[in-house]
Amino acid sequence: MSLTSDPPVGKAAANGAEREDYSALKVVPVRHPWRWAAVVVTAVLVAQFAHGLITNPGWEWDVFADFFTTRTILKAVWITIQLTFYGTALGFALGIVLAFMRLSRSPFLKSVAFTYIWAFRSIPLIVQLLFWFNLTYLYKRLDFGIPFGPGFFSFDTAGLVGAMSAAVLGLALHQAAYAAEIVRGGVLAVDGGQLEAAAALGIPRLRQLRRIVLPQAMRSILPNAANEVISLFKGTSIVSVMAIGELFYQVQVIYGRNGRVVPLLMVATVWYIILTTVLSIAQYYVERHFSRGATR
């Protein structure tokens, strides 16, 4: 007795000469009627939406065109880009330091980094930004020098420079907490054998990180980091609460004056879309660079 059944032995299997010639038959593909129905319905909806965008006078595309590339808006776009750039650069620089503090063997460094990440992930960005903004009124001067000792140079925190640095500081500190976890996750994803092999070869410690660990960690860091940059880029609109002339703030100012809310919101939206597209394209090429040697 057997649980498996033998394959049926037909004439064809028994005698090669009588095997059927399948190549002469016509192949009929599977039909997907419901898929076609869904395509039709979706196409109608998309067409309706596009038609509305173009023909509905409420969008006021002429106003949009008037404002899209005015000096004020371009300047505001530039400030948004700067906020994103400095927020990302400083945020990730601090984030890398925090990540390696959390990965270090020192319990003190570990818990400082852990506390920082815990605190800055807990505080809403807008609360933090308002806090820094108001702190510039608390601390009118910033002193640089020996800790607790004499100061070497100092500058006033008031004025626009103060608001801008407060914004960058707030964005960067916020970003650092998330960046730290992303970098740490990336480093942990690198096989332990890699560090071991590098150590066995006597490769200096910093070089192990820079040449062996980070390039491999980048593969898992990059998609998450790109997400963070894009969300920070749109997050800069929160800075409008500090009366900094970035894109969203300027748009609000303009429609506050002329009452053309919808077309001006579209001006901001289209700029956000364009810049996010640029970032996504950059992400594609950077990821491709770091996938060297990968088969997947």
Partner: protein, 253 residues
């Protein structure tokens, strides 16, 4: 003959698990020692301790006359800093079971990396040496390939070339063929045999009894953190004295 490796009453525990329970072993310059033993007997831990990838709890290990992990000054032993330990390791080549090649670097860059960054060799010179090593392991045409484009046997031969690039005085192999498909084992063993015939001092952990019989000067049998038996291949493999050695050999042969 001088001792290349001198291991004296080495103990090592992981938590409450004592993995090395007093190891004494001497490997002379030019000697090939093959370490056999069941899984979990502490073979890898011993190899890693020789390279200071694992710090021992007590006992001493010296390689080529210098203590591993310490510097002697008068009647004191100073623990070495990481930088000095890394320097020591450049004199010892280590070949891993899983190759551990750097997947984002080409074969040539894998080999050149350590001579350039650890020994500060000029890059040009290191590249020339790496090409010669690749030819020696029969992979001269693979310099520009990435590790994942190679078969397991080819990867392990690259890993051997990478270890040789530091011109080490001692080579350690931790089950170099255990991760390979059976038909690829031979090409890696051939490279190791070649090195053995050229007088390289090496300690090889393996389950390949035929290889041990052919190239070992000494066979060491480990069990449960101790060296149970050691001697010439003919003694240990063909006329084992201990029950545990007999039991192990009857399983792997």
């Amino acid at each position: 003959m001088t001792a290349m490796v001198d291991i004296r009453s080495v103990h090592k525990s992981f938590g409450s698990l004592e993995v090395l329970r007093g190891i004494d072993l001497e490997v002379r310059s030019g000697e090939v020692a093959v370490v056999l033993g069941p899984s979990g007997s502490g073979k890898s831990t011993l190899l890693r301790a020789i390279n200071h990838l694992e710090k021992v709890d007590s006992g001493w290990i010296s390689v080529a006359g210098s203590l591993v992990g310490y510097r002697r000054q008068g009647d004191r032993l100073y623990e070495l800093r990481e930088r000095e330990i890394l320097k020591q390791r450049t004199r010892i080549g280590f070949v891993f079971q899983n190759f551990n090649l750097f997947p984002h670097l080409t074969v040539l860059e894998n080999i050149v990396e350590a001579p350039v960054s650890a020994l500060r060799r000029p890059r040009k010179e290191a590249v020339r040496a790496a090409e010669a090593l690749l030819a020696r392991v029969g992979l001269a045409d693979k310099a520009a390939a990435y590790p994942r484009q190679l078969s397991g046997g080819q990867q392990q031969r690259v890993a051997i070339a990478r270890a040789l690039a530091l011109e080490p005085e001692l080579l350690l192999f931790d089950e170099p063929t255990s991760a390979l498909d059976p038909e690829l084992v031979g090409e890696v063993l051939d490279v190791i045999k070649d090195l053995a015939h050229q007088g390289t001092t090496m300690i090889v952990v393996t389950h390949e009894i035929g290889f041990a019989r052919e190239v070992a000067d000494t066979v060491v049998f480990m069990d449960d953190g101790r060296i149970v038996e050691r001697g010439a291949p003919a003694e240990v493999l063909d006329a084992p004295r201990h029950e545990r050695t007999k039991a192990f050999l009857s399983k792997v042969l």
